[in-house]
Symmetry: C2
Subunit: 155 residues, 2 copies
Amino acid sequence: MKLPTSTEWVLHCAASLAQLQSGDTASAAQLAAYYDLPAPYLAKQLQALTKAGVLAASTGPRGGFRLARPAAEITLLQIVEAVDGPARPYECREIRQQGRGALPREDCQDTCVLARKMADAHDAWRRSLAGVSLADILDEIPADAPARTRRILMG
Amino acid sequence: MKLPTSTEWVLHCAASLAQLQSGDTASAAQLAAYYDLPAPYLAKQLQALTKAGVLAASTGPRGGFRLARPAAEITLLQIVEAVDGPARPYECREIRQQGRGALPREDCQDTCVLARKMADAHDAWRRSLAGVSLADILDEIPADAPARTRRILMG
DNA sequence: CCTATCTCGGACTAAATAGATCCGCAATCT
DNA sequence: AGATTGCGGATCTATTTAGTCCGAGATAGG
């Protein structure tokens, strides 16, 4: 069970975009230089965030990315699932219905106990991430950080 | 983020072994037939569970696998991490210290806020799985299931 | 006590999936 | 009109996963 490397990238990029002034945008190239990341691949990930509705993109000169919503309305879960996909890590293939020990159909009406417990754990994970917004993240960084980020990122 | 397919296999196999009478063992071939799984590959996974201390293996005729501890002392987390490894899904590579926006060392004494939140979510997931034992699973299946399992699996 | 058989154990090979990159197209602002 | 930027597809590589094989060790029966 592993999240893509790009998860760290987009989380930091989203946090950086949350520090911009309303209306400003940052291009993929600017963000890549800011964190020293491979620009083409980062662009592809930001693209995924746009398609997920987390970021908004504007093309042309002086274009780039910005948050699609206020930072308080964007959760870490939305960002993570935008790059990793919404698929559950545990997939029940109903092996209890196969082989010599196959259970009769009437015993398989409700979902497998094991699948249910695994789903519970995944829900706990999702709830934890859904409880943290980008605004919460900004609250935990030094107060002078946004100004520094804007200066270095855009300049 | 995806768990191996074999996760479902070993969870069900462990639940089946928990239904055996004390002292009995089931071979990899028996378990594979019971669930219609590729026998050699399943053996590899059971091997991993043995190395993790969840199962105990005995070789020779009439040998096979059994639980290494009482079912109440084996959690789903131990089983899952035995096949998937203990690695955390989110790996912080400290990209905040790279590129043009690299933060000064003194600002990076404590772990990155984002890494902390991701770790919190993973802890929630682990706690959820650690709260369920094989004994809890057996409590949720029909009372006559263990006898049926023993008959079909060993017979 | 010896032998035959049955078991796990680890090394090895192939397939699939994800990671990473490149190039051409459409849209926008100067 | 030209330059700049995001968008989507096609491509290539690497890592992980899936699957197979043969050998070492132990037990049961003669």
